[in-house]
Amino acid sequence: MNNQENHPPASGVAGSGNKASAYRTRRRPGKGAFMAAHGQPMVWLSGGMLAVCVAMIIGLIAFVVIKGMATFWPGPVVRYVTVTGDIVSGEVTRGGHYEPREQLIDDLPMEVRAATMDLLTRNEGISERMLVRTGNFELDNEHFRWISDFEITGKGFPEWALVLERMTWGRFYGEPQSFRIDGETVAEGAEAAWAQFETYHGEVRKRWQARRDLESKELGRINHAQEKARLTVRQVELEARETMAAHGIDSGAYRQAVEALERQREIFDEENRALEARYAEIRDEIAALNRENDRYEMKLVTFDGREKTMGLAEVVRAYPANQLGIFSKAKIYVDRWLEFLWDAPREANSEGGVFPAIFGTVVMTLIMVVFVVPFGVLAALYLREYAKAGTLVSIIRIAVNNLAGVPSIVYGVFGLGFFCYIVGGSIDSLFFSAKLPSPTFGTGGILWASLTLALLTLPVVIVATEEALAAVPSSMREGSYAAGASKWQTIKRIVLPRAMPGILTGMILAMARGAGEVAPLMLVGAVKLAPELPIDGIFPFIHLERSFMHLGFHIYDLGFQSQNSEAAIPMVFTTTLLLITIIAVLNIGAILLRSRLRAKFIVNTV
């Protein structure tokens, strides 16, 4: 047999004489094909697309980090004198170009108008302006003021300019004048007054903190106890009413119920008296702390000469902005960050901390994971391991995948309608009837929010788990069956451990999706301000019915619902930075867990 004839190199078209040359002619690429032949355009295209993606990711993170990190850095206090003789002082927050309206120039005094017009003409009608945080809201009714370059005639950095962050009314800018204890001036002049302030402010704030703890913890506890006692009475009352309806008003059962009610009322009165007494005690304590704090006052004068006396307890933080070195600034910066991370918000969320929101976000995400992972893994197990492949299974799989594409607000609506109203309403009427009509579980709460998000992220977990299960080599399953293991033993001992990294990947994806979701939460329990955390020291310690704060919702609230929006905008970036960080931390934790498992089950192919 002639092997060459049987297997021609490319085709059987050419005759045997010029076979080789025909072959070469056919294979020579055209000029235009040269680039494609080397594959260069696709390298550039795909590489370029990757570069764009990387640039976008880095850009996003860099933008949030830079904006977010800058918020708390203390700036100097500037004192501008305007052409009209106004004094504008405070911190410059940002600047920009703009085209001043003619009205504005007409309002200027005659002598500067010509010069301004001249300047504007030279700059083609464009002027620079700055946004100055002037604070002192109770005096000026504004927090911020725009000031244009041409308005400024003088600029200075007052040596004793103090920045005071206060509990209410926002910031105050001014110079210390004197310090008073019990109404008597003990220090006169800026330096002496500031020294006194520094001496006493720490202890005053400690007392204030103690007072706040008393209010939130002790009084809270008493309120809870009172509420509980009242509910017990109400419960007995309801039972009595039911007895009456069932047995009639003359029945013995009803008389017994009424007696029980009387007894309960007496118990309640007794408990209540004790609680009231304790309440009064605490009130006295608080009043004493307040009295002590009220003794200390600082008198300040604004840069335009108005006086203001301020109690020390009102002041959260104060610093002489124009005397700070880099270390003092860093100290204030760190201090503000700590307050941000560990304290509750104040001033309609635009100042203070976001601790309740951090706590709410993390707790909600963890509760969600606790629900979604077992549900998703078991569902995927059935789909992949037990269900016989067929049309029904395919339909279910498609349906599950499509669930991932449903807009999240739809889940929110479902959560509100089903979890809050139907499930929560039933729980209320069964177990918390004494509290009605005010709802316990029948309204938004952290449990319903977690369940809603669990539903939202269920497809992610199911899909990831199914893929992980499918990736377990069949040789391992067969090895296990051959050793006499049952199906469940094989799944438990071989399949699940081997699929665990993949399942955890699903968990990570679900967490990332769930922690960042905001829209459904607005319907099922995230609120602007939740004074009580979902986990605290009052029995039963975990209060799943409580509404909660969430960082994502907090960002929305700061950005769009804030009264003092200029002050809130920097906080939006800082909170965003924090949200990204928290999600990253949660994910990194899960990824570490996964890589530990991976190391345990190193995948090695022979």
Partner: protein
Amino acid sequence: MDRQEDISTIMTNGKGNPNPLFRAQSTDGRLQAIAEGKWFAPVVDQSIEKEEIVLAVKEFNLWYGDDQALFDISLKVPRGKVTAIIGPSGCGKSTLLRSVNRLNDLVDIVRTKGDMTLYGDSIYNKGVDVIELRKRMGMVAQKPNPFPMSIYENVIYPLRIDGINDRRILDEVCEKTLKGAALWDEVKDRLQKSALGLSGGQQQRLCVARAIASEPEILLMDEPCSALDPVATAKIEDLIYQLREDYTILIVTHNMQQAARVSDYTAFMYLGQLVEYGRTASIFKKPQLQETEDYISGRFG
């Protein structure tokens, strides 16, 4: 191809069936005839009847969907001996082996007819507890398939399955079994390390250890050396040689030298039919069928 035969003498009922209308006496062209769907009675060495039989395959047929993979196989596996099944790729030898412990049940489309018995107990009867059945057998797969757990847990896996958690027993079995699989010296210092860190040959010996940990009545080996290098192969073959004293072994191999080296009995299969079965020595020296000789001497396959 030089022996062009007259197949018209062989009559069958038509479509690849196990029930011939009459059985041809001529051995000429038997393989071609098999390829065309005819069935022959295998040539079996009668000396097998003198042995104590562990596993008996009785007229066993198997279909993947509509394709028949095994045709009326009857085979007896003697106790304490190594029985090898040889044959070209796709002849159904692995399918037959996996039918013994009913691993083929895991494939949805498989149907069977006929039966097998293990010490007289039916394997394919209705109501047989497959899990209990598999506990009486050990299996070593083609590719080493250690489980994603420690060496120790791998070896004692069958005992864990049985709910034995007594540390003393487990330790004892682990050591004894690993020694039996000639792996003890290599792994005794890292029993708690992942089994996936072992070399391919070590993994395969670990799988042998796992298969013999529960003292099986028969050890099934499905081309245990096909994924191994020559050195590891030699070790496994030594191991099989040692194990024959205590275990009944049924081994599938596509390596004829291996079959000649390790086995006492050899079965030659072709396209789902058993062609010849007898003592390894006679199969390899002077087989009764020309086809067997052709295959063994490498003239086809």
